[in-house]
């Protein structure tokens, strides 16, 4: 099935790191070499994909408009749905990137007896998506406490806000709960909704399982499998990685290496997957082009350079042949000298 293979792949990754990290000497492979390689693949692959996209021409305006375009002065323009200038496009893109506005418009089509087709608003995907993405963002920013020394105030503020419920010690984070909930809901949506299940592929399930495993190992490491999880040694390694002086000072529990290996896998996999929508959302021509094709002349970039050829110059070029063939001409051939 389409979700058993990705599930098996994630389990295999967990086992590789779990067993591998317990072999003496392999800690440097899982703790230093693989994270560096993954980061290089992530940055290099990300830039490569964006440059490849930038090389693809967009020969004409293809914004998807959903409102009244700019028209006569007494007709009200829908500035967000049919933007015509840069500031309107920026507003539209900002709402798209920060609030996932196009998912807010998602509809569900159903057929009833009759037959009768109905469309109704379906905001579940928007809800699950925004829950997931903002939880993930918070978690990534919160992890900066392990990479930055001294820890800047905004990271401390995020941590405080995330742990505001003060449940247990170490304090439970709200985003840990919301990211798992969102992942379960996003996965459930792919299983339960028939149409979505039909179009879901292994490469849709794999990131879901992988991120679920990352969140789970993180939570296990923080709250449950704390043996040998020495946060000072972990921070020393993390700061070492970003300052290019990595060192593993003590034995760190295998769960840490599993977590790190899964994150490395995510980073390395990122540029070659659908997760590239992170960069792609900025480059989607249906969103980032202004709908100004009636105001600005857009020229196809690969048009050949064709010079204008008027009838007068055409006749100048072919007059002799035209006269010979008996085709009427506007200007007769010049009289020959000997006539």
């Amino acid at each position: 099935m389409k979700y058993t293979f990705p599930l098996a792949a994630v389990i295999a990754l967990v086992l590789i790191a779990w067993i591998g990290a317990q072999i003496p000497g392999m800690q440097y492979l899982f703790g230093v070499a693989i994270p560096y390689l993954a980061m290089a693949l992530f940055l290099g692959g990300f830039c490569y994909r964006v440059v490849q996209w930038a090389k693809s021409p967009v020969p004409f305006r293809i914004p998807t408009t959903c409102g009244q375009e700019y028209s006569l002065p007494w007709i009200k323009q829908d500035k967000l749905e049919s933007p015509v200038n840069a500031s309107q496009v920026v507003a539209r893109m900002a709402l798209e990137i920060l609030l996932f506005r196009s998912l807010w418009r998602n509809t569900k089509a159903s057929v009833y007896d009759g037959p009768k087709l109905t469309y109704e608003s379906s905001k579940w995907l928007w809800l699950f998506g925004i829950l997931f993405h903002y939880s993930f963002l918070m978690i990534v920013l919160r992890h900066m406490r392990l990479f930055l020394d001294p820890v800047p105030g905004f990271v401390k503020a995020l941590e405080f806000g995330d742990g505001i419920l003060q449940i247990g010690a170490p304090t439970m984070y709200l985003t840990d709960a919301t990211i798992l909930l969102a992942l379960v809901l996003l996965f459930g949506r792919r299983l339960i909704n028939r149409q979505v299940r039909y179009i879901s592929l292994a490469n849709d399930y794999f990131p879901l399982f992988l991120i679920f495993a990352i969140a789970t190992t993180g939570i296990l490491m923080r709250f449950f499998l704390r043996t040998d999880v020495d946060i000072v040694a972990i921070k020393r390694l993390a700061v070492g990685l970003v300052t290019f002086q990595p060192s593993i000072t003590t034995d760190i529990g295998a769960i840490f290496y599993v977590h790190l290996f899964l994150v490395s896998t995510l980073l390395a996999y990122f540029p070659f997957s659908k997760l590239m929508h992170m960069g792609g959302v900025f480059l989607s021509p249906t969103r980032n082009l202004p709908n100004n094709s009636r105001m600005v002349r857009h020229i196809n970039p690969w048009n050949p350079d064709i010079k204008p050829h008027s009838y007068a110059s055409y006749e100048d070029e072919f007059r002799e042949d035209m006269v010979e063939q008996g085709i009427p001409v506007e200007k007769e051939l010049p009289k020959k000298a000997d006539d």
Partner: protein, 124 residues
């Protein structure tokens, strides 16, 4: 490449943002903090590795038990001396300096336990 005037600055911002920890730390992996250990006592209520990993869970458990039952007895004897479940009367007796013991690692790892919301930190 089309729109390179927008895409190249965008990519540069992205790379700078992702590599932010590299610029922030100035290529300097600072020293690992060393909490100051008590000089006269060599043993804690749990082995060192367990204390390092689980002291916050132990303290949390103690707090709940003491608040709910009022029972402070904790049958651990170190060098013939019995210790009770208490932050101020057990932990802080040996680890008398919050700044030199607790705060060193907590500041490094950006951990802000809320012990001191209720307990009075020792005057230093």
């Amino acid at each position: 490449m089309y729109d390179s005037d927008k895409i190249i600055p965008g990519l540069i911002i992205f790379v700078l943002f992702i590599t932010f920890p590299v610029w922030y730390n100035h290529g300097d992996a600072s020293e690992v903090p060393k909490p100051e250990l008590p000089k006269d006592v060599k043993e804690c209520v749990l082995p060192v590795a367990d204390m390092r990993a689980e002291h916050m869970q132990l303290l949390n458990r103690w707090r709940d038990l003491v608040l709910r039952t009022g029972d402070r007895s904790y049958d651990v004897k170190i060098a013939g001396k019995e210790y009770q479940k208490s932050l101020m009367n057990t932990c802080m007796q040996c680890h008398s300096s919050k700044k030199k013991f607790c705060d060193r690692c907590h500041t490094y790892a950006s951990v802000t336990p809320y012990c001191w919301d209720c307990h009075l930190a020792p005057v230093e």
